[in-house]
Subunit: 115 residues, 2 copies
């Protein structure tokens, strides 16, 4: 765990966050700059920089991040109308924290293109 | 496999597509209305309507879709600069085909919000 990683520090409880869910692999918080009425971040509990670094030791992690996203969409009441899940990778992708996370946005119609 | 599912028919080769990758679980094609210089669709080979329908029988599927996305980003030459992976769920998410797929967009800076 890089000690200067923002999301590692949030997962460890060293920094405040509006945590709404946690399991063995995933911690979910609200985005501090929400882009939709519901905007949740699903963080990998263990540090992985991005999907580019996923290997055998992270088997099942994307499954669990998306399962948590679907579960939270239900919990937040946006599942029936629909929502968007987004993973940013690198500079062109708009990744601002180098710790794997999935954005879940709902509560409004999402437009196309996706940014 | 619903016989009227567009992506099932593409996976089965019943409809033409610009297929660029295939493995046991994933078929990748180019989006017919690209929203970025590189815009690839990663289709689940077996029919699943959306992430809302994922269960134990699809264990590992999200992992494999994202692994294929990362691999194709390298192959397409957009990995170093970055890219965005998007999963639309339902009407508000902008899901237009009820067959699980992941969009991979790169080759330009993606903006925020993601739609």
């Amino acid at each position: 765990m890089p000690s200067d990683c923002l999301f590692c520090r949030i997962v460890a409880g060293e920094l405040p966050s509006s945590q709404i869910y946690a399991d063995d692999d995933v911690v979910a918080i609200r985005d501090i700059a929400p882009q939709a009425p519901t905007h949740v971040l699903l963080l990998a509990r263990k540090h992985v920089a991005s999907v580019r670094e996923l290997g055998p030791e992270q088997a099942g992690l994307m499954d669990r991040l998306f399962a948590a996203g679907a579960k939270l969409a239900e919990q937040e009441g946006v599942a029936a109308d629909g929502y968007r899940l987004v993973v940013n990778v690198g500079r062109n992708g708009g990744q601002t924290v180098d710790h794997l996370h999935v954005h879940m946005l709902g509560g409004r119609p999402m437009t196309w293109p996706p940014g």
